[in-house]
Symmetry: C2
């Protein structure tokens, strides 16, 4: 498969080896062509600029939903169409670039090229839509549903694709548990119909209770998510407490046992497939490193083993990571060549990809800049006492007490001038703390990349200072207080309080763990975004303007039923849920989040009462995604 070259003193070879190493380091899985032109194209392909550009245009493409009908901020159709065309152009360029990099036969087999279909379909849809709107016909932008697929299938969405694959692989087993679960719901519903249907019970609003089989199935299905507990059982309970046994048994079996079974099946499968994926990744990484070795290998003596010399290795590492320091590179070499021979074999070479991924923190004990500027003053007795005071535990405790006092002051009414002036005192104290710390600690290490809390503190305090100054300037000039700036000031003030967490070791550990699982949550966040986006697009096309929100002051009689006569007298209208609609992409997203949080989702669904099919989609959507997220968070959190 790879070229055996004994005379390898060409620059291209180093490039090739560097690409193999860098692919291994970042777990890229692209079977690129090894011809010199393809290699240099591939280098360009992996450059950060085109990658960021693609992500940017995906974002632009997806955020077009904000400006298209039904819009949050309406823009003319030709404007959004033009922007979308531009996005499609960028994606096409990227794809053409990709096609040039990898061999032709590989390109056509690559499942990532669902992108091509998406782009073509979007173009067709845009043409049809343009033609229809030009002739004033009803037109539908159905291809908007395809947009999130770009996010999944673009070459960079590797992690997302992996998550998707894991879910897809778990589906068959989930399906069997789901069937059994549905069977159980149906049997329980039949029993409820027979036991309660003929008793002439009435629900709270006077309608007959448990007389229609399909309604019972729906009610009991909702009960699984506990959203209508205990209302659904109150009529039966009022008749006799024996019937509660039925409901308790139902909740026990379906909510606790079956939902846990879902969780267990998803968790087990996810773990199994993830393990398999990781194993494949490790194998691919090794394979790539072996190829890189084959490019650079040479034979020191006749019949001896193949090795890579230190000089070549250095040149390679310099190509792979240009920003690495000499000291760091020498450290890595000494780890590989532990016998100090000046060359390394295949086994030592292969671990380079992992070594490059290890973060090395260079700790330089630099003297404080003030010490170099005026040493006598900085090293004088009062200055050293100050340093000792600031480094003392008492200093931290004192500031914790100040923060707590500040919390109390924030909670009090800020109309009181004493309270509002105290804010200046607290701001001064916080600034003083930062200045003192800067005096004591070396500024560059204080603001190093890893001191999350120092950065957090300084940014919050400085922005609070700026916002407070702007606010009081506005006030003293025009007697006018901007609500927005005040809001920002309040948020910043409250955020300052979070700092207390850092001074308690146990809490810091928990917070750090939570921060560390951030990337994993982010991947699933993208996944959920994809699902939400698709549902929002479908929902908007189906339900836009079906439910209207009327302002507080509006006197329109339609306000009582959200502008839709079908909703007259429903719980949805009574609970004042009119704003939960699909009238624009923002409302749709918020509505979908509410459905995910589950409670009252059945009331929200009443707005779709006539459209059973979508309800079904939503139901299964909720069922499938709830446990997933749990699992995800659980998996990530067990690190603690």
């Amino acid at each position: 498969q790879w070229r055996e070259n004994s005379s390898w003193d060409v620059d291209g070879d180093f490039d090739l080896a560097a690409i193999y190493v860098s692919d291994a380091q970042y777990n890229r899985n692209i079977y690129f062509d090894t011809s010199p032109q393809a290699v240099s194209l591939y280098l360009l392909y992996n450059h950060w600029l085109p990658r960021v550009l693609v992500y940017f245009f995906i974002l632009v493409d997806m955020s077009l939903a904000v400006f298209e009908e039904p819009a949050v901020l309406p823009l003319p159709t030709w404007a959004t169409m033009l922007v979308e065309l531009l996005c499609l152009l960028v994606f096409t360029v990227r794809l053409v670039h990709y096609a040039k990099v990898i061999p032709r036969d590989k390109f056509w087999k690559d499942p990532k090229n669902i992108c091509i279909i998406c782009i073509v379909l979007t173009l067709i849809d845009m043409i049809i839509y343009g033609a229809l709107t030009a002739t004033n016909c009803y037109a539908l932008r159905w291809s908007r549903v395809l947009r999130p697929l770009l996010l999944v299938n673009v070459t960079e969405g590797r992690q997302l694709r992996r998550a998707f694959r894991s879910i897809r692989n778990a589906l068959p087993e989930i399906f069997y548990v789901f069937l059994l679960f549905m069977f159980s719901v149906l049997i329980f519903s039949l029993m409820a119909l027979k036991l309660l249907g003929k008793r002439g019970l009435k629900t709270m609003d006077g309608s007959p209770y448990f007389t229609n089989y399909l309604e019972i199935v729906f009610d009991l299905y909702v009960l699984v998510t506990t959203a209508n507990s205990p209302d659904v059982m109150m009529p039966a309970y009022n008749a006799s407490f024996i019937f509660t046994l039925f409901f308790i048994l139902y909740i026990f079996i379906n909510t606790y046992i079956f939902m846990s079974a879902f969780l267990a099946v998803v968790f087990n499968n996810y773990k199994k497939y993830l393990k398999e994926e990781v194993r494949q990744l490790v194998r691919a990484k090794r394979h790539k490193m072996v190829r890189a070795f084959a490019v650079l290998q040479e034979r020191r003596e006749e019949g001896g083993e193949l090795v890579v010399t230190q000089a070549n290795w250095n040149q390679l590492v310099r190509l792979v990571q240009p920003d690495i320091s000499n000291a760091h590179r020498e450290l890595l070499w000494s780890v590989c060549d532990d016998k100090n021979q000046g060359f390394i074999g295949k086994l030592a070479f292969v671990q380079l990809a992992d070594l490059l991924n290890i973060e090395v923190i260079t700790l330089k004990s630099r003297p404080h800049p003030l010490q170099s500027i005026c040493p006598t003053l900085y090293l004088s007795a009062p200055s050293r006492l100050l340093c000792r005071l600031v480094q003392h535990r008492g200093f931290t405790i004192m500031y914790d007490v100040i923060i707590l006092a500040n919390a109390v002051f924030i909670g009090l009414d800020e109309e009181n001038p004493m309270i509002s002036n105290s804010e200046w005192v607290f701001l001064f104290l916080y600034l003083l703390e930062i200045l003192l710390k800067l005096y004591v600690f070396e500024p560059r290490s204080f603001f190093s990349k890893h001191s999350f809390w120092n950065w957090f503190d300084t940014i919050i305090v400085v922005s609070a200072l700026i916002a407070t100054i702007i606010n009081s300037a506005l006030k003293s000039v025009g007697g006018y207080t901007s609500r927005q700036i005040l809001d920002i000031v309040f948020i910043l003030r409250v955020l300052r309080l979070i700092r207390v967490v850092d001074s308690i070791g146990r809490f810091r550990t928990i917070i750090n763990t939570l921060i560390r699982i951030g990337p994993a949550i982010l991947t699933f966040g993208q996944l959920i975004l994809v699902v939400y986006y698709i549902f929002a697009m479908v929902g908007m096309e189906l339900f836009k303007e079906k439910v209207k929100f009327y302002d507080e002051d509006s006197n329109d009689p339609a306000k009582a039923y959200c502008g839709n006569p079908l909703l007259k007298g429903t719980t949805f209208a009574q609970l004042n849920y009119c704003k939960n609609n699909f009238n624009n992409v923002m409302s749709s997203f918020i509505l979908l989040v509410e459905l995910t949080v589950v409670n009252q989702w059945h009331d929200i669904l009443h707005l779709n009462a006539s459209l059973c099919s979508l309800t079904q989609i939503k139901l299964s959507y909720i069922v499938k995604h709830r446990p997933l997220k749990l699992i995800k968070s659980f998996k990530s959190l067990k690190v603690i």
Copy 2:
């Protein structure tokens, strides 16, 4: 530590060894005295009869709550007191027996003897209560809270104690996450107060929205359980959709991240401590087997290793498990003595406890009794054809279709004579199936201990037959239909449908797994029973008769507010929740289940509006026990 005896031909020694083996087999951990009297007392102590008696009296003691004030079925105070005295007497006898079995110094150090304190406290309480009621003073039976402790601390509740220990050990770590979680809730509440408090927003019922800090904390705490989503955010959402960001962030951090962190911490700790407990159990088991070996050991030749002969081993096994068959015992011996030497060493002896726990199923291929009675008929061509037909796959499929048809018929209106007569057809078909199977398969293996579904089928079909006959007899005699019998008939009819599950292999696997985790769930069921019982007792003393339920037909104006003026106009009264009260032990349990299921729990808690402290207990109770149960079910289900 143990007696070295070279002349061991005493019966007492066999008893001692048998006790050690049986203790190891059932994981009992009692440091009993090794004197002959104590050993025979210990044998009696472990006999099934006294153990069952103790459990029976614990049940009687706990079920006294049904008859005591506030009672479901009122009994005079002297009657319940007498029964309780009897129970206490039984427990005391059991404890005295226990004290005789184990060495005096061990007895006083045993933490299980919390029982003694419980008994003494209960006696004191009963005396005080008796005296107070005799003088017509207000009296409180506070010692009822202690009753479930007997269930935990009785020597038999080993598994329950282990579960309790695991939870107790996990508490410190949970506590830190809980603190951080509460900190996050408080910070978010402060931010909500500052952002939304001054905007003059109104909730649905016109009261000011988010102006009181403590109310915000409570509302946001409820939001963590998703019980008041999305109502709590609707006023803010109606004002501006920016505020939903605040709520979405809050739900993400507190409901998803922190609740998952709780789950992870509890899961991890539970697993860790359970592993430790199991390790200790295994060590203790080995230790006991070594002791048993030491009692029976003898030296075959001078300087040779210590062994146990087959004769002694046989006598031991006969003592430990009298009901074991000779074939089974010989099988076990041949496993231990795999070299067929006639004696075994320590290593082979130690595994006896585990071997005895292995269930051996004896498969005897007996001919069908009909074959022995009239072989010509049974082996004739038509009879054999019948056998082949019944064993064919088509027979099962045919009956699955019949069951599905039956499901449809059950769902239809049974007033229709055609439908109600069809029931006889189905009953006949089901009976025919059982009879045919009995004709084909050997009855004793058909009704063997492990054929769960055969037993299930037969019992359901036969009882449905009996109930249907009684029902139609009653109907034809007096034209009168008993509602109770009809209910039973309906339940049995629907239960018959479950059988379909057995014929699909995948479903059978899932169901079998669920059945296998039954014992683990039972242990946690006991644990939850203990917690519920304590809360029910406390709740009944505090809230009995505070909320009254009025019959459907009652015209009392107090019906609108459940007989408590404090509840006028609350959601609790509006939703007709009057039956959710603490007026007797049954209602209390149902109420606690509802609280566990979470939804609307904040409305139910309104009934305790004035009693903040208990609310607090409940809240923490819910927080602690929700994840626990999840964990439990999860742990058990991951076997799938």
